[in-house]
């Protein structure tokens, strides 16, 4: 899967809270509910969860820990692999560029759209959202075209930057920025839709009161609207961080457009893990890398669920 495209629905979660709180009041099951029927309904899902969610993780941990070289040998092998640190540096550079630009731009665009007339804003939101349909390899290919100075509609910008040929554009030093652009292009629209929805929950009276009190558009945006979407910005940052460490599709597909470019088959940690497993049958070391990455995702998810108060389900 590509860098996490936004689930188009997180709006559901905040909105749904009202409903679920009502459900939370139900301490005792309603009269007549069988206490065993529930197992029957969740059975298939639980089987899938155990077989495809828990078992692979347990097996990967087992592989990562089992080694003739002693406890933790696979992890130290992975950390000492000369390809390991560069791979992490690559994704961290990508994440830094992506998160900073996406946060600033998404917030700015949302606030601007929200100050427009409703219908006009809707048109822009739709236009920004469309690239979200092109996840995975498709969006990378679109950007291969956009980055090719000989055919791109953005050729004038590329020429201005001094890139005359495709391989100039995709020079190794540019890759983190290029992946950040791709991720922003497919993902930003979804977040804009979500945050716009959050802004629409602001009561009209509040905005009117601010206006009557002499607050101008900027003050309203920064003092009233921004604090109200802060939670979503944090949510976006954390999800993007966890997803960014998993980068795989973009460097892999870009690597297929060889053209003598220096993108290795182990540019990102996930690629390195796959490279070790598929080329050298180094399953234990690959498992160790996947556990490190998995830990990132798990920690982030757990923090969000327990501390983030975004999912007050019960």
């Amino acid at each position: 899967m590509s860098v996490p495209s936004v689930p188009a629905v997180p709006g559901v979660r905040t909105r749904a809270r009202r409903g679920s709180r009502a459900a939370g009041r139900r301490e005792q099951p309603p009269a007549g509910v069988s206490r065993t029927a529930g197992y029957f309904f969740v059975a298939l899902y639980v089987v899938l969860l155990l077989a495809l969610g828990i078992a692979p993780v347990v097996y990967a941990i087992y592989l990562a820990l089992s080694s003739s070289g002693g406890f933790g040998a696979n992890f130290s092998d992975a950390f000492n692999d000369y390809r390991f640190l560069p791979a992490f540096e690559h994704v961290l550079e990508f994440i830094a560029l992506w998160l900073v630009s996406q946060t600033i731009l998404v917030v700015a665009l949302v606030l601007m759209l929200h100050s427009l007339a409703r219908r006009v804003g809707a048109v822009f939101r739709f236009l920004f959202y469309i690239p979200g349909a092109l996840a995975g390899a498709a969006s990378v290919i679109v950007w291969l075209f956009m980055l090719d100075p000989t055919a791109s509609p953005f050729a004038f910008i590329l020429h201005w930057l001094g890139y005359a040929q495709f391989d100039n554009t995709i020079a190794p030093g540019n890759l983190p920025a290029i992946f950040a652009i791709m991720a922003f292009w497919t993902g930003a629209g979804g977040w804009i839709v979500v945050m716009y929805g959050a802004l629409n929950n602001i009561p009209h009276e509040l905005l009117e009161a601010a206006e009557i009190d002499g607050s101008n558009a900027f003050q309203t945006a920064f003092r009233i609207k921004l604090p109200l979407i802060r939670k979503w910005v944090v949510y976006m940052l954390v999800l993007a961080f966890a997803g960014g460490t998993q980068l795989f599709v973009e460097p892999t597909v870009l690597g297929s457009a060889a053209l003598g470019v220096g993108i290795s088959k182990y540019w990102s940690p996930n690629q390195l893990g796959w490279f070790l497993a598929s080329q050298y049958d180094e399953f234990n070391e690959a498992a160790a890398i996947s556990i490190v990455l998995l830990a990132f995702g798990l920690i982030v998810a757990a923090i969000l669920v327990w501390r983030g108060r975004l999912f007050e389900v019960e």
Partner: protein, 295 residues
């Protein structure tokens, strides 16, 4: 003085919005127009010029018949994996959401907590562990190595849970239970008929996630006859002259693809998702808001 300043700010804002509209939308326009032109026209004509319908037909024919109808094989594979995964996801998620929302059993809260954690974890984090597991039990290269993981869809369970806990009137269920309906009967004859929107919503998200998945089929499939479209697209880059000129020395007998062919392939690959999205939009929005309006 205040008025001109306000106009200036509005103007700057408009320029920024138009810039980003171009950023988001120009690539799409370019992609749609590219197959109507020849590779040479792509380089010489305006990026927004329309080529001709006959060129479009020619490009379509070239890419569809390329390398023994490969594109059609990938399309068929994508359909099998995605519809299979979606079917499993619906069969598992709808009853599970109902069970979590409206029945009581030991471990219910724990299961809900685990579901939330797995749901927000990036799906890619499980790909390598899944490969290691499937490899150990010998399922790599079979359709099950894709359909089953696609069918494991905690986000769908969460959506169904929210839907059932906020839209089904509790009194209705209580009345049915008092009338002696068994729990299965309540689910089958009351909950399921009311759950159409959420079935559509879970189905849509499961389908799109499966259709667009790249990493999982990348590790689970071996050859052309098994690839879904996402992997096929990557293969096509390798055959595209402008991206891999070294592969095609002069006089080579290999059929070479050009940029318009690749653009056509991308359009074919994303078409199903876009079509489903456009047609289902109303239902989707309804389903998404369903948890919000009542409660």
């Amino acid at each position: 003085m205040a008025l001109p300043r306000r106009h200036a700010i509005r103007f700057v804002g408009l320029v920024i919005l138009l810039f980003f509209t171009a950023f988001f939308f120009v690539p799409i326009i370019w992609l749609l127009l590219a197959p109507t032109k020849t590779d040479g026209q792509l380089l010489t004509e305006s990026p927004f010029a329309f080529g001709s319908l006959s060129t479009l037909a020619h490009t379509f024919h070239r890419i569809v018949t390329y390398s023994g109808d490969s594109l059609l094989i990938w399309l068929k594979n994508s359909a099998i994996y995605s519809f299979g995964g979606t079917a499993v996801a619906i069969l598992a998620a709808i009853p599970a959401g109902y069970g979590l929302a409206l029945t009581e059993f030991i471990g219910r809260r724990t299961l809900l907590g685990i579901t939330l954690v797995v749901m927000i974890m990036p799906a890619t984090a499980l790909v390598l562990p899944l490969f290691l597991e499937m490899n150990a039990i010998g399922l790599v290269g079979t359709i099950w190595s894709l359909i089953l993981p696609f069918g494991f869809f905690p986000f769908g369970v969460y959506l169904a849970y929210i839907y059932f806990s906020s839209t089904i009137p509790k009194d209705l269920l209580a009345a049915a239970r008092i009338d002696g309906a068994k729990e299965w009967g309540v689910f089958r004859y009351i909950a399921v008929p009311l759950a159409r929107p959420i079935i559509g919503l879970v189905g849509f998200f499961a389908f799109v996630a499966s259709w667009n998945n790249f990493f999982l089929p990348f590790v689970m499939t071996y050859d052309n006859s098994q690839y879904p479209l996402q992997i096929g697209l990557q293969q096509l880059i390798g055959s595209t002259a402008s991206f891999n000129p070294a592969n095609y020395s002069a006089g080579s007998s290999v059929v070479v693809l050009h940029r318009p062919d690749l653009a056509m392939a991308v359009i074919i690959a994303i078409a199903p998702v876009v079509i489903v999205f456009l047609f289902a939009q109303r239902t989707l929005v309804k389903g998404m808001l369903a948890g919000a309006t009542k409660g």
